[in-house]
Symmetry: C2
Subunit: 276 residues, 2 copies
Amino acid sequence: MTRKSVRDVLRLTAVDLSALDPAGRPIGPKTKKDAAEDLLATGAELEDLQEALYAEDARAVLLVLQGMDTSGKGGTIRHVLGLVNPQGVHIASFKKPTRAEARHHFLWRVRKVLPEPGRIGVFDRSHYEDVLVPKVEGLRTAAELRARYREINEFEHELAEAGVAVLKCFLHISPEVQRERLLARLDDPRKHWKYNPADIDARSKWSKYQQAYTAALKNCSATPWYAVPADRKWYRNWAVSRLLLETMRELDPKFPPPAYDIAAEQARLRTDDPLR
Amino acid sequence: MTRKSVRDVLRLTAVDLSALDPAGRPIGPKTKKDAAEDLLATGAELEDLQEALYAEDARAVLLVLQGMDTSGKGGTIRHVLGLVNPQGVHIASFKKPTRAEARHHFLWRVRKVLPEPGRIGVFDRSHYEDVLVPKVEGLRTAAELRARYREINEFEHELAEAGVAVLKCFLHISPEVQRERLLARLDDPRKHWKYNPADIDARSKWSKYQQAYTAALKNCSATPWYAVPADRKWYRNWAVSRLLLETMRELDPKFPPPAYDIAAEQARLRTDDPLR
């Protein structure tokens, strides 16, 4: 396909969100049709890699999805993770911390739902919520936020040490496309439940959220962030599927060799009589 | 399609496993091709029902898969649960209890992984392992096993009371087909990890396992069991997909009405300026 990897192109270096086009297609297919074909091929390869990861039973992947409301975290999960065996996927969603969660260290609830070895874990929102909302709402001091950024870097480093490949995607949408998507939810009785008037609060603080994202992405970049243009759903799905594929190719999981004598087992099976 | 439901036909009444044909097709499509078409249509309807169940956020489904090794619990999960949104699925596997699990009541580890409201939970093996293996291996007395059957009935009754629709499927295969599938695993280096010589122990006790299944299915039938002929993978997938569909149709989950004023929200969105 392309010489450059999707990771090379989408990797956030200088974090300047205003310079990124949410409707951009900086690499890969230009049309929905081409992207759909590509997604099928990617799915087949992902399924194979996932099976090897599962069989290997040692390392794991953690896909972190962050983005404003309607940026498509759920849609990405449905379309990208829907490509692989559900048995190897573990999805965790992070809402506003419960009272019990709020009494603990902010990473407590995160550590509880890390993927087991062999799995692809997915975070629908994540520990980053705990440096975004507090910054926008002024719930933490600058020093407290700095401490959290540091703890997140340490946490993600720990994960890497433990064999968990962390893939962090920021789904980048424009406020205009968010408006369209929110209005579409209001137009469809099957989508009314997805609409929450409180979501508009975050929308009305759009610039503050972009600043909070900029600070978080910049301060927690020891593990790289990828900026996924998300105004086009098909491009977003394509890009995340490719980022996941490149991550898993790099892991290169291996089917473990048998710990038994194949010929002996074949002989045993061919001659046995289980109903004797 | 058919007047009779798949549940009517596959429901186990008099539990006589020897009278059931593992290669049978007692209802539904006769060919793999017809089954594949049917599976697609079922998938679309399942996806809609699942979304409503998720939106409703109150009740849940629990699909329990039991069967001898290679009966296709994993394949069923991949092909049937692969039809729906992975975000709404929660899969739990039960292996030999760990030391910590063995120190607790046998239902302890089961209760920990029940599906949350709105989810389709899947048990790949289940609490039934704790009445099968102990009976075959003589690890529990008859009185202890009777107590466990009773506790399982109570537990499943509790689940129903809590709004969890429990769908129990026994994947029924023949020892000949198991032999073929185990040999196929030995023939494919990508499948060697799935083969465990210890599995042959259970195979060599085939009749004892059928007796243990018979006792468990008979004694724990307050919540019905469905016997799924599993010698043909396509029929097994079709049958479980239809059993799940009928279960979810009966639940008939409803999208909740909006708890906000739609017109007011539309007006607000159409005129707002999030970047102001």
